[in-house]
């Protein structure tokens, strides 16, 4: 008894086991509820866009629908294909979910308590862990021992691998300003500099957004689970709770993509004029920072849903084209041109200075002239130049616009007789 007591009240255990456990439980509870309601939001948004009402019968305005869905999913029969690989089949959805949920640890949801952990390789950690999540999809498709899941898994691996590159490259631009991979440091840099990196890095934001949609397997990039072609893609053979784990992973990934975009490009939990509250009402400030972060994330999630119900799915070759011929060159060009802009601003014009701080040194642009220089260069030089480079690269490639594609003039084909002579 005394032994147990000693374990429980041990300060080391307190610091490294009990406290994190409580935080994990709270966070998981909030995030899982949120994800359940994201499904509800998705159904509502899709319904509104299609001039319907969506779920309305369970609870007021269908607000208890997630609960009903959960009960249904738990009660469903759990089917494992007879010829499938049982072990891997069971393991795959767990891998997907774990990779999605682990990432939540390093996201700064707000100021103070709401920043759960701050590790100095935060962004790198997120990118690497979330790319392991792909393995869950591939394994699920493989273990099902069925053709549609395998096709879906193959597609998803190709898609995710190619879009991951663009996603990571797009993040390099803002990192040149923040000079740190820590999520908190990126937010701090934007907050103290009174800027959102969206203004400095429009191209990177666009690339990140598109790659984020592709990473989370959502329309127009939902080829892995294209329901019209592949039944349900990699989770065709999954039912009941295992299927819902995949679903959970997908929506958590959506949440995480939006959270990264908000942190890196939209200033995270910071908001103009809100900082004055911090010395006097730290508690209120924490709550408000969480609220600001949530609003920004939800705006982005709404955009994800909006995309889904607006754009039709890409063809597979178009998807690869977009990844390799547009996204990656755009991200690379963005890095190059941003570097040049920073060099000119720093060396020639002397508009920036590097300061050290709580989170290491970072690039600071004091004064309106510097900000005007960087914003103006980004929108008036960076965007057209990137566009020009992309146009040069894709000068001779297919057009994504199907109507334009149909108008392509094919070269005249020589008659058979001209090639082979009289037969």
């Amino acid at each position: 008894m005394e032994f147990v007591e000693r374990i429980i009240s041990n300060p080391v255990m307190m610091e490294y086991v009990w406290k994190p456990l409580v935080v994990i439980l709270i966070l998981l509870f909030i995030v899982l509820t949120l994800v359940a309601y994201l499904v509800y939001a998705e159904r509502k948004v899709s319904a509104f866009i299609q001039a319907r009402l969506g779920p309305m019968r369970v609870g007021p305005y269908g607000l208890l629908q997630p609960l009903a869905d959960l009960i249904k999913l738990i009660l469903k029969e759990d089917i494992i294909p007879a010829q499938g690989d049982r072990g891997i089949f069971k393991f795959a959805p767990i891998l997907s979910v774990v990779c999605a949920l682990v990432v939540l640890a390093v996201i700064p949801f707000g100021w103070g308590v709401a920043t759960i952990t701050d590790i100095n390789i935060g962004l790198l950690f997120i990118l690497s862990v979330s790319s392991v999540g792909i393995l869950g999809i591939i394994l699920g498709g493989w273990a099902s021992n069925s053709k549609y899941p395998l096709l879906g898994a193959l597609r998803s691996s190709a898609q995710m691998v190619s879009y991951e590159v663009a996603m990571a490259l797009a993040l390099v631009g803002p990192l040149m300003f923040a000079k740190s991979l820590s999520m908190t440091a990126i937010v701090e840099a934007q907050r103290t500099d009174h800027i959102w990196y969206l203004l400095y890095q429009p191209v990177a934001f666009l690339v990140f957004l598109v790659a984020g949609v592709a990473e989370t397997n959502r329309t127009p990039f939902d080829l892995p689970e294209a329901e019209a072609e592949l039944v349900a893609g990699f989770h065709t053979e999954y039912s009941g709770f295992r299927w819902s784990l995949y679903f959970l992973a997908e929506y958590t990934n959506m949440l995480i993509s939006s959270a990264i975009a908000v942190t890196v490009f939209l200033g995270g939990w910071s908001f103009p004029f809100l900082d004055r509250l911090r010395p006097e009402h730290p508690g209120l400030f924490t709550l408000l920072s969480i609220f600001v972060f949530a609003v920004k994330v939800f705006v982005l999630i709404y955009m994800f849903m909006w995309f889904r119900w607006t754009f039709p799915r890409y063809r597979y070759d178009q998807l690869m084209d977009l990844g390799w011929k547009w996204m990656i060159p755009a991200a690379l060009a963005n890095i190059l041109i941003t570097g040049a802009i920073i060099m000119i601003g720093q060396e020639t014009l002397g508009l920036t200075k590097v300061v050290g701080g709580e989170y290491g040194e970072r690039l600071v642009v004091p004064g309106l002239a510097g900000k005007a220089y960087f914003i103006g260069m980004a929108w008036l030089v960076l965007v057209p130049m990137t566009w020009f480079i992309l146009a040069m690269i894709n000068r001779r490639s297919y057009d994504f616009n199907l109507r334009a594609q149909r108008q392509i003039r094919l070269p005249e084909r020589p008659a058979t007789e001209d090639v082979f002579g009289k037969v």
């Binding site: 509104f48 866009i49 001039a51 319907r52 009402l53 754009f311 001779r396 057009d399 003039r409």
Partner: protein, 167 residues
């Protein structure tokens, strides 16, 4: 090998600004207005039904005397393409109040209408000389027992029990 398609400046700019995508997004955004919603919350809100809709049959009564308007002439049964109406008549003596004499007349004894076979063509209501049989705008005809599809005289006059939705 595909020939390069030349664009004019307008096309190039619209391509650069992704105007096609934006146009699509504006369309979907506008459709979210609550006024554009087509859904009718059916059991809660009754849908508007066309005036000439032909639904459940009804045997009308004289609003003053409360007697059935049906004179048991059997025309509806003859007109019915599906032969689903069965009219049973009986000849009864009755006191004619105008002349004070006892007279004989055909009365309706029973009326059977099999809604399971009905295709709601409306021939019976067209042919009825006294407007007794009528197809109303009632459309909830689903029922749990097969036998209950055959509507008796009473059911035809009073309608069948429908579930009542309160909320």
């Amino acid at each position: 090998m595909v020939a390069h398609r030349r664009r004019n400046w307008k096309q190039a700019i619209s391509r650069f600004l992704l105007l096609d995508l934006l146009k699509g997004m504006i369309v979907t955004f506008k459709w979210q207005a609550p006024s554009k919603c087509y859904t009718v919350q059916y059991p809660k809100v009754r849908p508007r039904i066309g005036e000439r809709f032909r639904g459940a049959p009804r045997l009308n009564r004289d609003p003053e005397t409360g007697e059935s308007l049906c004179i048991a002439c059997n025309l509806c049964a003859v007109a019915c393409p599906e032969n689903l109406i069965t009219v049973t008549e009986e000849v009864r003596e009755y006191l004619d109040e105008a002349s004070g004499k006892v007279k004989k007349k055909r009365f309706l004894a029973d009326y059977l209408y099999d809604t399971s076979r009905c295709m709601f063509c409306g021939y019976c209501q067209d042919v009825c000389p006294t407007y007794a049989i009528e197809l109303t705008q009632e459309f909830e005809l689903a029922i749990y027992r097969r036998r209950a599809f055959a509507w008796t005289w009473e059911m035809l006059e009073n309608g069948i029990d429908q579930p009542v939705y309160t909320r």
